[in-house]
């Protein structure tokens, strides 16, 4: 592995960890189940993608690198499906999405299709 490979791999891993951190921050700071799901399905997935790419660069062979990327693909699938299931269950249980009550965002938030 060349120095460039190693540097790129470390850069991707650090960037991935930062996205994980922002995803976790969103999970703590966002106000309801729907907004928290955004944090988990977007920032964390990109974080994992960058992390897996960084690790794949350090892999011993092509098959091993492909296996690491397969982990990302499976997590993407699971989180996409899981997010719909959690959100639709919350909706079916009568949990209403949080609405910002200040400033320009005061009116009702159910928008018809344009």
């Amino acid at each position: 592995m060349t120095e460039w490979h190693e540097a790129l791999s470390h850069l991707l891993i650090v960037a991935g960890a930062l996205f994980f951190l922002t995803g976790s921050l969103g999970f703590i700071r966002f106000p309801d189940v729907f907004t928290r799901l955004h944090a988990l399905t977007k920032a964390d997935n990109l974080g994992l993608g960058l992390l897996c790419s960084g690790l794949a660069l350090q892999a011993g062979g092509l098959a091993e690198a492909a296996k690491i990327m397969l982990v990302w693909l499976l997590v993407l699938l699971a989180s996409g499906i899981g997010a719909t299931l959690v959100a639709s269950t919350a909706d079916a249980c009568g949990i209403r999405p949080w609405q910002n009550r200040t400033g320009a965002s005061r009116e009702a938030r159910r928008e018809p299709h344009e």
Partner: protein
């Protein structure tokens, strides 16, 4: 005499048409690729791998997914780009000292997709794109939660539906091919 359940199962399992052979080849190739990844590319692993692949190809359900490499490539490129934007947007919103979210639930009426697998695929994909989350899938529309509303969201959903239609087919595609 109407076909029995056994006849129908046998018909599904045994390739009878060219299309079925293509389906079998696709499944075997996909499973072989998976085995190659899981086995780390070792030659000895194929002793167990080949029977396992054939057994899995026999019992796995046949996905009703047409093979359209260009459409897949276009959709994957779009999804990766939008996914990157979505993650950056969420990271930015989560890190801002004063959190300002303009959350809404919008309705996307189905305009092109009319089969269940295409709709489910799009509903799952929406969760990975910038600021959108599927809340409910209805027969005539999709309810989407938006983290921070902006005007391009509706156009993005329509664009996405066109891309998914290119993969799964839909009422517009069928009209075009019938004409």
């Amino acid at each position: 005499m109407p076909p029995t359940r056994t006849d129908m199962t046998r018909r599904r399992l045994l390739p009878t048409r060219f299309g079925d052979w293509r389906g079998w080849a696709g499944r075997l190739a996909l499973l072989a690729l998976l085995w190659w990844m899981l086995g780390g590319g070792e030659a000895e692993s194929w002793h167990w791998g080949v029977p396992a692949i054939i057994a899995a190809a026999l019992v796995m359900p046949t996905p009703d997914l047409p093979l359209r490499p260009l459409a897949w490539l276009r959709l994957l490129t779009l999804a990766l780009w939008l996914g990157l934007r979505g993650a950056i947007e969420v990271a930015w919103l989560a890190c801002r000292p004063r959190m300002q979210l303009d959350t809404r639930v919008i309705e996307h009426r189905w305009q092109r997709l009319d089969d269940t697998s295409g709709r489910l695929f799009m509903a799952t994909l929406i969760n990975l794109l910038p600021g959108t989350l599927t809340v409910r899938i209805d027969s005539d529309r999709l309810q989407v939660h938006v983290l921070h509303y902006r005007h391009g969201i509706v156009a993005m959903l329509q664009r996405l539906e066109r891309h998914v239609e290119a993969l799964f087919g839909g009422r517009h595609r069928r009209k075009e091919s019938a004409a």
